[in-house]
Symmetry: C2
Subunit: 312 residues, 2 copies
């Protein structure tokens, strides 16, 4: 498959690694003179490092699949997918999407790496807008697999489905938002936790260092292999609905103390329970808890064996 | 050192493992007939599993250090530290602390595993209250090292210092709150993230499964070895203050949409920056970023090698 990477800074270069690693041919374009050439060097170095730590088998072969495009049109010709990663201002996004619209093929899909600006702000004016969406990575995407897919109001459902399938096929872990929302999902989840972290420091309750340790030696361990819903699903004998009813009052007080209306009413609890029971039937909760403990043990053994020099 | 574990359910049993693993003699007491004996069996099984996965060297020797106490007085005689883990109601906590007060030695410190009830609610009436505090674990503490230390208003500073030193000496990672607050720190941080997770589902923005993946394939990876402050400190060229100024508007909008006043004013940003620069001087940000990438690579290699059967 032919992939175009448009905008060859840190994010674009990292995307090139994702696609080349998966066996695709990647054309890299950057409007800045020499930008794509510099990216090729960076990509080669990072591929080598990935090979050294055993995360890819053949860095040289992957590097061979990445080429510098002579022009934007050259980059996107015959491309099945374009990953746009230009500098994040509305104006620059609007310009590049207009330029892409002039040269893009009739079937090509376009994902933007935008971390905050929604696609509706810069694809309203282009003919190919049904084939555009946000594909927001966490940097660097060749190490952190999640990709947020966020459609504009005019993005076709098929566009989301096909980009999801593409991302899965190259080893990423796509997640879908049904519509645009400020900060998408990942930065919203991070944002509310950060808000509380900063308030604990502002109120003199806890030091920055101890807040960090509360996460890195506590909350973050389970969250590195299962999400917050599965975590609480396994933390009460009857699963997530049982957990929500046991701890609703505590969480209402916590959330309320910062102005948040928790809203865990019975209908919402039933809906979360329904979705979790599709993923994991109630009669497998105990088995999954044992799996969680094995994963935690393996993670702790891994952390013990990893180099962890003091930060200071 | 002699340690007493009072209340021998899942939490108390797990604490016994922590102390016995570190070489201490542990006396286990449970008010329920046969409760401590059942705990000994559970402790032996778990120690064996820890030995199998290489997390301890000699399960049998550790198991030998745990004994059933004949009475509460027998459990705490000569104990340097008592970890209380009885059922979490104010009434039961008040009763056990009154009973402990009657038999505790003059130097013994007492930590309560309470996950939500503050120590001021159940130690106001006891003579030894200066030596009492919350030592809240995440279950199971032999796998998740963080311990929240929360003093009551009358807890002596020396009590906090000595329990912190004890917890560090047995391999836990204690964090300190300067005063009581609803939910302490860990459940507050989890609670605000959970509040947002549930709202994304309630608003039909994202499925439970995709929220979980946003964390387990995204946010949770870095958080398993560094906290939220260090994460953002390394996510802008100029460190955490640079990050806060770049993204303050986005996070204000996110937090504000849920009713939270973010409050990242210049004075607070300066204070967080000051604390981070003590931990990591500015001229070492780049080196630490390279460390983060190596840790991420090692984590991804670890995850790839771990068994991860589908949940459903």
């Amino acid at each position: 498959m032919k992939i175009a990477v448009v905008g060859a800074g840190l994010v674009g270069s990292a995307w090139a690694i994702v696609f080349a690693r998966a066996g695709h041919d990647v054309a890299v374009y950057d409007a800045v003179e020499g930008g794509a050439d510099r990216a090729i060097g960076l990509i080669g170095d990072r591929l080598k490092t990935l090979e050294e730590v055993g995360l890819i088998e053949d860095a040289a072969a992957a590097g061979q699949r990445v080429r510098v495009a002579a022009s934007l049109a050259d980059a996107v010709v015959d491309a099945a997918y374009i990953q746009e990663s230009v500098f994040e201002t509305v104006e620059q996004k609007r310009q590049i999407f207009a330029a892409l619209d002039a040269v893009v093929g009739p079937e090509t899909l376009i994902g933007s790496s935008s971390s905050g600006i929604p696609a509706s702000a810069f694809t309203d004016h282009v003919g190919c807008r049904e084939r555009c969406l946000i594909a927001h990575p966490v940097n660097p995407p060749y190490l952190i697999p999640v990709v947020e897919l966020v459609p504009a109001p005019w993005t076709a459902a098929a566009t989301v489905q096909r980009v999801r399938a593409l991302m899965e096929s190259v080893g990423q872990e796509p997640v879908e938002l049904t519509r645009e929302i400020e900060g998408f999902a990942l930065n919203r989840l991070q944002g509310l936790l950060l808000a509380e972290a900063w308030k604990l420091v502002a109120d003199g309750i806890m030091s920055v260092e101890d807040v960090d340790r509360t996460v890195s030696a506590g909350l973050g361990l389970r969250w590195s292999f299962m999400g917050p819903f599965e975590t609480i699903d396994l933390n009460a004998p009857g699963g997530v609905a049982d957990y929500a009813r046991r701890f609703r009052t505590m969480y209402e007080t916590i959330a309320g103390s910062r102005g948040v209306d928790l809203g865990w009413d019975d209908a919402l609890i039933a809906e979360v329970e329904r979705q979790r029971r599709v993923a994991l039937p109630a009669d497998r909760l105990a088995e999954r808890s044992a799996w969680r403990d094995r994963r935690l043990m393996a993670l702790m053994a891994h952390k013990r064996s990893s180099q962890d020099p003091a930060a200071g």
